[in-house]
Amino acid sequence: MFAGLDFKLTGGGALLLLGPNGSGKSSLLRLMAGLLPAYAGHLTWNGQPVADDPQAHAERVHYVGHHDAVKGVLTAQENLGVWARLHDPATAAVQARAALVRFGLGRLADVPGRMLSAGQKRRLNLARLLAAPAPVWLLDEPTTALDQRSIANLQTVLADHRADGGLVVLSTHAEIALPGATVLHMDQVGAGS
């Protein structure tokens, strides 16, 4: 799919993946999340290969993919609470609540998932980022189905995360401001066989 990729992110850094459909943005993100094995090459964290300790990698990564993983029969609060507690069993309900409010879902906390619109489901999925903290955020087209205001809100959340020393890797087709991000054009990377 792709070859000859080499990049490094430090605290507060961001990587913006651009490129046409099928250029490997999602595959790269899935690879970084640990969902896909690399055909060749290494992914390292502080010099340690990530594959040595997938458990520790899972603890520091939040991955937002194409599916929102919202259960129709659970309320927004329950949906988020499950993911937050699975990530970190010590997460309190207050934290999940605050994350919902931050993404403008405070009034919808007790609404079942099936009643939410596509954009609201996406925001609920993004709320996982804040409900249980993790330093690395891997976001695959997070702006899908979001309106202008929600995108602006997401930009603030991303900026705050980076100000706290977090990492962001984001793929997108939409306009999203990631000041100072390294830009990687996936269609200009040396293609693999």
Binding site: Q55, A58, H67, K71, V73, L86
Partner: protein, 221 residues
């Protein structure tokens, strides 16, 4: 709450709110067993003789019914991907999902069994053995089923495929489960058969989550 408990609670809540699976499984079990007196005829002797076999075979088929949904729903909405990415070993995730599956399908089967045994006129000596056997056998069936469900993930007509894969593996459970009741009814010692059922349960407890997790990793790549 540990992650295991969180996951069991989530699946129980999902099952209770959707409700369909438990009712479907128990409904199938009750109706199918109730058909036998009509098909075989009401002679008490015949029914009493075949009761252990009927109950075990039907329980086996009933437990196949909801298996294909075990991972399918989570796979379709992206939850399975996220479960793989939580800091919980996938084996623990599988164990939690199987626990919830057994609590919502195996346990109701167990509760319905004595009533149906009464309907078929099972000898009183067989009840305790039947229930003990079921208590050991149904979790083993759920665990075997989890392997099948993980293997057919994403396949069309997954439900039928699971049954084809799992039913042959479930034959030992059937043999020793029904055999134990037969022995108890004839006044023989059923301990040996029950012990083998226990051994099967232990083996599936060890192998089931590992095998299912490996199959899930393949499916998600």
């Amino acid at each position: 709450m540990t992650r295991f408990q969180t996951l069991v609670a989530r699946d129980l809540r999902l099952a209770l709110r959707q409700g369909a699976d438990s009712i479907l499984v128990v409904g199938f079990f009750v109706i199918t067993v109730a058909l036998f007196p009509f098909g075989i005829g009401p002679e008490a002797g015949t029914l009493t003789r075949v009761a252990p076999g009927i109950l075990w075979v039907t329980a086996l088929l009933a437990s196949m019914l909801s298996l294909d949904r075990l991972f399918q729903a989570d796979w379709e909405d992206g939850s399975l991907e996220l479960l793989l990415l939580t800091p919980t070993p996938l084996e623990v995730v599988v164990a939690a999902k199987v626990t919830a599956h057994w609590l919502t399908t195996g346990l109701p089967l167990l509760v319905a069994t004595p009533v149906l045994a009464l309907l078929l006129g099972l000898e009183p000596e067989g009840y305790m053995t039947l229930l003990t056997g079921m208590a050991l056998g149904t979790p083993a069936l759920s665990l075997l089923g989890a392997i099948g469900a993980a293997l057919v993930l994403g396949a069309r007509r997954g439900g039928v495929l699971v049954a084809l894969l799992v039913l042959p593996l479930a034959v030992p459970v059937l043999i020793f489960g029904a055999g134990a009741v037969d022995a108890a009814v004839q006044g023989l010692d059923a301990t040996a058969s029950l012990e083998i059922l226990g051994a099967i349960l232990l083996a599936t407890l060890l192998l089931g989550p590992v095998a299912a997790a490996a199959a899930l990793r393949q499916a998600l790549e």
